[in-house]
Symmetry: C2
Subunit: 129 residues, 2 copies
DNA sequence: CGGGATCCGCATCGATACTG
DNA sequence: CAGTATCGATGCGGATCCCG
């Protein structure tokens, strides 16, 4: 990543906010966690169970970064054994709201995307043959 | 969210549309390209120049997957040398629209996120000391 | 101009084991 | 229960060269 190019009209420099946020939203787990926690505070292993396929390492890692970004709050309760509750912050809630249209789009259009893929692959196969 | 995982109240299975789409949107380059191409059709090297830091390999790779997903259209014009124009599809345009709130959020809240990070890091440093 | 093919380093991530 | 620590594979992505 080099210097910014403010000259070019339609350009995304490395410092562009969209890119920086996209890098975080791009973390496929982060958004899922955010959406889950928005509905209700959740505990570590509850999240682990709710998100099929996530490893404990990834989960704790992503949770930490979400907390660092001010999107989530971590609350440890001194019981035995320890209880930890993760809840969304107001800032996180606004992000979750901004992601909602995307989730709706996903639900409404996934099939069409999959169809497009099949068409594309079929066309490619014709060329190969 | 449909009957697939209607048992578990808050869960994201691997087949969840949101996850599948997020995997694509998670590709940090894909969304940027989509947003650029929405405004006006663009050519390969124009995109390359517009997106700071992308390699030609990544660009051609992402372009191909966007085309495969039916989100973008590739049009080759038989000039010498070849001219190739990438434009958004109607489906892609709806996705771009769904991403817009996210971009706005990014522009409005990046600073707050960065502040949160600094606070978090400062607190951690205190503990270390 | 618009890519494909290849090589390869390094960061990611999963698996496992251990702890407060 | 809620994590940390370590190791090892793998695959992403950059760099480079080449071609129609």
């Amino acid at each position: 990543m080099k210097a910014a190019n403010s000259k070019i009209p339609n350009a995304y420099s490395a410092e562009c906010p969209t890119r920086q946020i996209l890098d975080r939203v791009g973390d496929k787990w982060a958004v899922l966690i955010l959406l889950l926690v928005r509905d209700e505070p959740m505990r570590f292993n509850a999240l682990r169970r709710a998100i099929e396929g996530i490893s404990q390492k990834m989960l704790s890692q992503v949770l930490k970064s979400l907390e660092r970004d001010g999107l989530m709050r971590r609350r440890a309760i001194a019981t035995v054994p320890v209880t930890v509750e993760y809840s969304i912050t107001p800032l996180g809630a606004t992000l979750a709201d901004a992601v909602d249209p995307l989730r709706e789009w996903a639900e409404n259009n996934l099939k069409e995307v999959l169809n497009a893929q099949r068409r594309y692959d079929a066309a490619r196969k014709d060329i190969a043959a």
